[in-house]
């Protein structure tokens, strides 16, 4: 009989390390035998080729069998876990819900943040695309004047190509109801610079981008679908745009959207030569594609050299004008960014609290299960198997919660999607797609490991025979300290969330309380953008206004009605340089005012106080002296003595005399600083201001403003059946939109904070209940030794108060830091806002008290005899 004695050193370390692929429990059970078999095989193998083959085969069979053994164990663990979790449905449901909320909040926040801030734009090589602006002292991102754009394009060498555009809504007539369409006028170079090919047809040629060329138009995919039923023969059809027959030459792909998500068609800019004369007529936006190898810094440096040359050449118009070059992806406003990062931060806070809470639940459960674990150890389960089984349990919980969390995210997404600014060149809306699912999966995995591994490892270490001894001392001080620390962390995070949400809420209220300078209630508004050439003549427009306004004013309930260039808060720009003594006519000097042409009745309709003089009147015409109404801030700035009436200033090419002073309004919006305002009579446009042609109609009624809309639309249709009406909404709605994203954000963050608060309350309650039940013997002894209920109550409450204070203090410090970080969002609310901090602290104290009520009650009711007999 050959000796079967195979020593360890006979087995190559190669096979030893292969065995490491098996679970430790399997290795412990069969490793020795397997090594023996392998050693035997190797001895019998013939020659080097035989041994090589053996090793090769061993690698594959080990990979296969080790995976199979792991799979077997996983299946066993899953079965076991499902059984044990099924026995404690309360725990299981709580855990799954907590994870679902944490993962759901983060998944939804990620899908929006990713969409808005992270994922690349849907253009080829999007990182090479930049936006070009003029940089003047008061505005770092000023639109370009066509002349400067043309020079920049001609002189620069950093760009492969350059294009420009301006948003230019057009009236579409002849397709059902006349309709106002969001569109962009683009230079022939723009779409090729973006690098997008049309879905069908072609892009604009240089010849089509010349003044006087026959009209052409490219449709967006959405427009092609919705207005033309995806007609395959659309290319070549003629549309009536602003009264100009235009041939459809192409349709863009579905994912293409530029410059904003609502743009529905593109027409050639075809800038006439006259627009190249004034370098202060800034209305186009530039886009460039960097040459390969040229960095953003190099392009910026070159453009500033060019701007410097142009400034020397045109010292007056280009006074202190340089260039701003930004990556297209980074164009989003700081506020939009801040909103989303704050939201993501809050979501992460919620997840952290959820994890902490779960770790706590699992710890408590582990302590309760110590006997079970000790039994399993005693019958031979190794520590590795126990830990592994517990990690399987936490991962199973995590993935059940994560799956539910994705559903939570889907439900939350419509609300979150309202934070997506519509100024993005992206079609569509954020959705739960593969990328987001991957994120949710990873997050769930990390979550499962984060809350599972710690407790599992601790329990695995603690699982020895001492667990069988039983008795109320199981658990021990160390675990309770750990649990207290976890609850403190929860309280800390909920203080941060409560304070942040509180400050944002205060900021929202503050913004909402800002007086806009006008009254919005009872006012219906709509837009009738009069197209040229049809309405190029002053007389044609005046006939239209007169007919519409006189009819509208006759409607029952209507108190007044007026037309203006742009209603307040609907148009950020529309400013013009002001000169008092006939000099300093650069907009760069900061002497600018917003310019609006209005019909009589404007101040009455919006109830803007007219402080002195009179409003622009029907009798102010092109043949009477040019007059203006200015705002109070205008007077303060230029005539500090307060006497404005009768004074002259140079504005919009002409000398004008002040006939009235109105109170200031917030033209730009509730949160932005506005320039002083100048109102000019609608009959004194002189034909040079097509951008400022009055198009916004405002009607003050004693009734419900919305109810008036159909009657007004009928009047407009009677005045001009081809005239589209758009933007029908109340003035109150316009003001409300100013705070819409803030409202959504405050609501979301408030929701997160409430969630965190609830979880922390659950945590503190759990901690104290557990502590009381673990200490019932000690409490029993104390009572037996004469402790009063008051003493017992004090003992429990002291512990609660300690945990609360230990959580609130660092939480408040962190909250202050968070406040500093999001100061830009706080609209002037200080990051140390005392009422918010006091309220948050008070809430946490109340929560602690509330959470400790039941445990304290139980502690007081501990019966010394029962407690001691249980031993």
């Amino acid at each position: 009989m050959p000796s079967y004695n195979v020593k360890r050193y006979d087995v190559p370390s190669y096979y030893q390390s292969l065995l490491l692929l098996y679970p430790a429990s399997f290795r412990a059970e069969y490793g020795e035998e397997m090594r023996a078999v392998f050693a035997r095989r190797q001895r019998n193998a013939s020659g080097l080729p035989g041994v090589a083959w053996l090793w090769f085969a061993a690698l594959f069979e080990t990979l296969w069998n080790a995976a199979a053994v792991h799979w077997d164990i996983l299946r066993q663990d899953l079965r076991y876990t499902a059984r044990t979790l099924g026995r404690t449905p309360g725990f299981t449901l709580t855990a799954i819900l907590v994870i679902a909320l944490g993962v759901g909040a983060n998944t939804a926040a990620f899908s929006v943040t990713d969409f808005v801030l992270i994922r690349p734009l849907a253009f080829p090589r999007p990182d090479r695309l930049v936006k070009l602006w003029e940089n003047v002292p008061s505005y770092s991102r000023m639109e370009l004047s066509p002349a400067n754009y043309r020079d920049w394009k001609r002189m620069s060498k950093s760009f492969e190509s350059m294009g420009a555009f301006t948003t230019q809504p057009v009236n579409l007539v002849g397709q059902g109801e006349p309709e106002r369409i969001d569109a962009a006028a683009v230079t022939a170079g723009l779409l090729p610079t973006l690098g997008v090919q049309p879905l069908m047809g072609r892009l604009f040629t240089a010849a089509e981008d010349q003044p006087g060329a026959a009209g052409t138009v490219i449709l967006s995919y959405r427009m092609w679908q919705s207005e033309f039923g995806a007609d395959a023969g659309i290319v070549g059809r003629r549309l009536n745009l602003d009264g100009v027959p235009s041939t459809v030459i192409g349709v863009m792909p579905r994912e293409f959207s530029f410059p904003v998500s609502d743009t529905r068609l593109w027409i050639p800019a075809a800038l006439p030569e006259v627009l190249y004369q004034d370098r202060n007529n800034n209305f186009i936006e530039g886009v460039g594609r960097l040459k390969p190898g040229i960095s953003l810094q190099q392009a910026r440096a070159e453009m500033n050299v060019i701007a410097g040359q142009l400034e020397r050449q045109y010292p007056k118009e280009n006074f202190r004008t340089s260039a701003t070059i930004n990556r297209m992806r980074d164009e989003l406003s700081q506020k939009s960014r801040g909103l989303l990062w704050a939201l993501s931060g809050a979501a992460i806070c919620v997840l952290l609290i959820a994890c902490t809470n779960l770790a706590n639940l699992l710890l408590a459960r582990g302590i309760a299960r110590q006997k079970e674990l000790a039994v399993r150890t005693a019958i031979g389960a190794g520590r590795e198997r126990l830990v592994r089984q517990m990690i399987t349990e936490s991962l199973l919980l995590a993935f059940a919660g994560g799956g539910l969390g994705v559903l939570v995210a889907m439900a939350a997404l419509p609300l979150m999607a309202r934070l997506v600014p519509n100024t993005l060149p992206m079609a569509g809306m954020p959705a739960i797609d593969a990328r987001v699912l991957l994120f949710a999966g990873l997050l769930t995995l990390v979550t499962g490991i984060a809350f599972g591994v710690g407790p599992a490892w601790r329990m695995g270490r603690g699982a020895d025979l001492s667990g069988l001894r039983g008795g109320s001392r199981a658990g021990g001080g160390r675990k309770e300290r750990l649990r207290s620390a976890l609850v403190m962390a929860e309280i800390m995070a909920s203080v941060v969330l409560l304070v942040s949400a509180g400050m944002l809420m205060r900021a929202l209220w503050r913004v909402q309380a800002t007086a806009p300078g006008f009254r919005a209630d009872g006012v219906l508004t709509m837009r009738t953008a009069l197209p040229t050439p049809k309405y190029a003549a002053d007389a044609a427009r005046e006939r239209f206004y007169a007919s519409v306004l006189s009819e509208v004013r006759r409607l029952p309930g209507v108190e007044s009605a007026a037309y203006t260039s742009f209603l307040p808060m609907t148009m950020g720009g529309g400013i013009w340089p002001v000169s008092i003594k006939g000099e300093n006519l650069e907009r760069a000097g900061g002497d600018v005012a917003s310019m609006r042409f209005t019909t009589p009745g404007f101040f009455k309709t919006l109830r803007i106080p007219l402080l002195q003089g009179r409003e622009p009147a029907d009798s102010d015409t092109s043949s009477t002296p040019l007059v203006a109404v200015v705002s109070q801030s205008f007077v303060r700035k230029y005539w500090p003595d307060g006497n404005a009436i009768g004074r002259h200033f140079l504005f919009a090419f002409s000398d004008r005399v002040v006939v009235g002073v109105a109170a200031d309004i917030r033209v730009r919006g509730l949160e932005q600083d506005s320039e002083p305002q100048v109102y000019l009579p609608y009959k004194q446009q002189g034909g040079n201001f097509s951008f400022y042609v009055p198009k916004d109609l405002a009607i003050l009624t004693t009734g419900t403003p919305e109810a008036l809309a159909p009657a007004v639309q009928r009047i407009i249709r009677a005045a001009d059946p081809e005239q589209p009406v758009s933007n029908v909404r109340t003035m109150a709605k316009i003001v409300e939109e100013q705070t819409a994203s803030r409202t959504v954000q405050a609501r979301l963050l408030g929701g997160f904070a409430a969630l965190a608060f609830l979880l922390a309350a659950v945590g503190i309650h759990g901690l104290l209940s557990f502590a009381v039940s673990q200490r019932s013997r000690e409490i029993g002894v104390r009572v037996a030794l004469g402790a009063k209920p008051r003493d017992i109550l004090g003992m429990v409450l002291r512990q609660a108060a300690f945990v609360a204070v230990a959580g609130v203090v660092p939480g408040a410090i962190l909250a202050y830091q968070a406040g500093l970080a999001m100061q830009a969002l706080l609209a002037g609310v200080k990051p140390n806002d005392p009422p918010t901090f006091l309220a948050a602290a008070a809430l946490c104290v109340a929560m602690t008290l509330f959470g400790s009520l039941l445990p304290a009650w139980r502690a007081v009711r501990v019966d010394p005899i029962t407690a001691l007999r249980a031993e």
Partner: protein, 116 residues
């Protein structure tokens, strides 16, 4: 406890291990040798496949590890010996029944073995 039919069809390694321990208790390497001998060297169980199968078979109660040891001079105390259980025997018989029914069906369709 499972019924024998619940485990069918048996993986071929399982079936061969059952046959190897049908007449006497064997240790792992002896099982490998027996299987190789009976199949004319066609089936050489690897250590991993063998012990993974054994672990499952122990769990299903097809085998037990036996405490009876052969005479000390033939024994290596590291060796583990496995014995077939009545359940293991019943399962093997059930598998044989299944296979022979299969063969019967095949013959009825005209699939005769090549060296009939």
């Amino acid at each position: 406890m499972d019924k024998p039919e619940d485990l069918l069809p048996l993986p071929s390694a399982t079936f061969h291990i059952l046959m190897a321990v049908a007449d006497e208790d064997r240790h792992g390497y002896a099982i490998i040798q027996d299987v190789a001998a009976r199949t004319g060297g066609e089936l050489k169980l690897s250590a991993g496949t063998l012990y993974r199968s054994i672990q499952r078979m122990l769990e299903h109660g097809l085998l037990v590890e036996t405490r009876d040891r052969p005479a000390p001079e033939l024994d290596d105390e590291r060796r583990r010996y496995y014995r077939i259980t009545p359940f293991g025997a019943a399962t093997a018989r059930a598998e044989v029944t299944r296979l022979s029914q299969l063969v019967k069906l095949a013959r009825a369709r005209g699939f005769a073995p090549e060296r009939a």
